[in-house]
C-alpha cells in the first residue's frame, strides 16, 4: 500500500500537464464544430415536415443520449475497424485523435440538437407572425428574427454544453491520446505511479480553472448578446 503523498508538489505538475493543452484544445474545437453542425442537421430533421426523417432524428437523439461516451469510444475505436475489416475496408490509417473527435462530435451532437430545438421553440410564435406581417419571407424571417433570438436563448446552455464537452475530452486517454489526462498518466507512470495522486489532483485543478474561465466567458457573452433583448431570454 502506497502511503506517501506530498500535496506541496501538486503545483509543480501543472505546467508539465499544460504542455498537452494544444491536443485537448484541438479535440475540443473540432468536436465542437462537428457537434454543432451535426446537431443543426438533426434539429432540422427533428423539426422538419418529413415524418420518416423526424423519426430518425429523434431516434438518433435518444440513442446518443442513452449510450455512455466511453462505450461509444470503444464501439467505434475497437469495434468498427473489426467490422470494416470483415467487409474489406481498412480503417487503420485513421488516427486516434480523429476517432476521439468523431466520438465526441457524435455524443455532443445530441445535446446540441436538444439545445437548438428547445431554443427555437422558445421563441415566441408571435415573432414569426409579426415578421410575416411586415412582408418577410420564410427564410428571411428565420434569419433576421427567429435565429438571433434563439441564439440568445441558447447561449447559457451552449456554455454548459461546451464545458461538458471539454470535460469529456478527458476520455481521449482511453485510446492512448496524450491529452491533458493522457499527459498526466504519462508523468505518473514515468515515476512508477508513486506521485499519481498529486498528478491527478493537479490535472483536476487544471480542468477546474479552465472550466471557471469558460463559465466566465459564457456569462460575459450572454450579457453582451442579450443586452436590450431581455425579452428573448426570459
Amino acid at each position: 500500500m502506497e502511503n506517501t503523498y506530498d500535496l506541496s508538489t501538486v503545483p509543480s505538475y501543472i505546467p508539465k500537464i499544460l504542455k498537452a493543452l494544444p491536443v485537448t484544445a484541438e479535440i475540443l474545437i473540432f468536436s465542437l464544430l462537428f457537434g454543432l453542425l451535426l446537431g443543426a442537421l438533426v434539429t432540422m430533421g427533428a423539426l422538419g415536415k418529413n415524418k420518416m426523417v423526424r423519426i430518425i432524428s429523434n431516434g438518433y437523439i435518444s440513442f446518443m443520449r442513452g449510450i455512455p461516451t466511453l462505450v461509444l469510444i470503444f464501439l467505434l475505436y475497437l469495434g468498427l475497424p473489426q467490422l470494416m475489416v470483415g467487409i474489406g475496408i481498412d480503417l487503420s490509417a485513421i488516427t486516434k485523435t480523429k476517432y476521439i473527435i468523431a466520438c465526441l462530435s457524435l455524443g455532443s451532437s445530441a445535446n446540441m440538437a436538444e439545445m437548438m430545438r428547445a431554443s427555437y421553440l422558445a421563441v415566441d410564435k408571435g415573432q414569426r407572425e409579426a415578421a410575416y406581417s411586415v412582408g418577410m419571407k420564410g427564410f428571411t424571417a428565420f434569419r433576421r428574427i427567429i435565429l438571433p433570438q434563439a441564439v440568445g436563448i441558447a447561449i447559457p446552455t451552449l456554455g454548459n454544453n461546451i464545458i461538458m464537452l471539454f470535460k469529456e475530452t478527458s476520455l481521449a486517454f482511453t485510446v492512448g491520446v496524450i491529452d491533458l489526462l493522457g499527459k498526466a498518466r504519462a508523468i505518473s507512470s514515468a515515476s512508477y505511479g508513486t506521485n499519481r495522486l498529486e498528478v491527478y489532483i493537479a490535472t483536476g485543478i487544471v480542468f477546474w480553472i479552465i472550466c471557471i474561465l469558460m463559465e466566465y466567458i459564457s456569462k460575459a457573452v450572454e450579457k453582451v448578446y442579450t443586452k436590450g433583448r431581455k425579452q428573448a431570454t426570459s
Partner: protein, 235 residues
C-alpha cells in the same frame, strides 16, 4: 464478421454485471441528492463560511471530469481511511475495501454538487406565498419545508433530476478505470481473449440503451403524475 455464438455465450455475464452498475447509480443518487438538498438549503440560507465552502465544492465538482474524480477518490480515500484508522488506533486493511466504494464516493459527491444546483433553482421557483400560507396555519419552518415546499420543489426538479440520473448511469461506466467490474468492464474483459470487440460493445450498447429507456420512462411517468398540481404553478 459478427460472431453470434460469442454473443449468446457472453450475454449472461453482461446481464450479471447490471446490478453493480445499478447499485452504483442508485446508492450515489440517493446519498448524493440528500447531500445536494442540504447544500441547496445552506446556500439559500446563506450561512456564513459554510455556504462559501459549499459554493467552492460545487464549482470544483462541476469543473473536474468524472474520470479524474474517480482516480482522486481511488488513490486518496485509502490513505485517508488508513490514517483515520491509525488515529483511532486501528490498522485498517484498506486493500480489503472493494473499489466500488471509492467509485460510489466520487459519484455521490458529483451528484451532490449537480443536484444542489437543481434543488436550488427549484426551491426558488416555489412561490413565496406557499411558505407564508404554511406559516399562517401555524406550521413550524420544518413542517412547512417538509410538507409544502419540498414536494413542490421536487416536482419542479423532476425533469432535470431525470437528466442527471441518466448521466449518472452513463458515468458509472468510468468506474471501469478504478477496477469495478460493472457492465463496460465486463464487456471489455469478455472481448479481450478472442478480440470480439464489436460483438461485445454492441451488446453493451443495447444494455445501456434499454436501461436509459426505462429510466426515461420512469421519470416521464412521475413527471406526468406530478403534473396534476404543477399545472397552475409558475416554473
Amino acid at each position: 464478421m459478427i460472431n453470434l455464438g460469442f454473443i449468446l455465450e457472453s450475454t449472461p455475464a453482461i446481464i450479471k454485471a447490471i446490478p453493480i452498475t445499478l447499485l452504483m447509480a442508485f446508492s450515489s443518487a440517493i446519498i448524493g441528492w440528500i447531500l445536494g438538498l442540504g447544500i441547496a438549503l445552506i446556500r439559500k440560507a446563506n450561512i456564513a463560511i459554510v455556504a462559501q465552502v459549499c459554493a467552492v465544492f460545487v464549482s470544483f465538482m462541476r469543473g473536474v471530469p468524472m474520470v479524474i474524480l474517480l482516480y482522486i477518490a481511488y488513490y486518496a480515500l485509502p490513505i485517508l481511511i488508513y490514517n483515520y484508522g491509525l488515529s483511532i488506533g486501528v490498522e485498517i486493511d484498506v486493500n480489503a475495501v472493494p473499489p466500488v466504494i471509492y467509485a460510489i464516493s466520487a459519484l455521490l459527491l458529483d451528484q451532490a454538487a449537480y443536484s444542489s444546483e437543481i434543488f436550488r433553482s427549484a426551491l426558488s421557483a416555489v412561490d413565496e406565498g406557499q411558505m407564508e400560507a404554511a406559516y399562517s396555519v401555524g406550521m413550524t419552518k420544518t413542517q412547512a419545508l417538509v410538507r409544502i415546499i419540498f414536494p413542490q420543489a421536487f416536482a419542479i426538479a423532476i425533469p432535470n433530476l431525470g437528466g442527471l440520473f441518466l448521466g449518472l448511469v452513463k458515468g458509472t461506466s468510468l468506474a471501469y478505470y478504478v477496477g469495478v467490474y460493472e457492465i463496460t468492464a465486463t464487456a471489455n474483459l469478455l472481448a479481450m481473449p478472442a478480440l470480439n470487440f464489436i460483438e461485445s460493445y454492441i451488446m453493451t450498447t443495447i444494455v445501456y440503451e434499454v436501461i436509459s429507456f426505462i429510466i426515461n420512462k420512469l421519470f416521464r411517468y412521475s413527471e406526468n403524475r406530478l403534473k396534476r398540481f404543477r399545472a397552475g404553478m409558475t416554473v
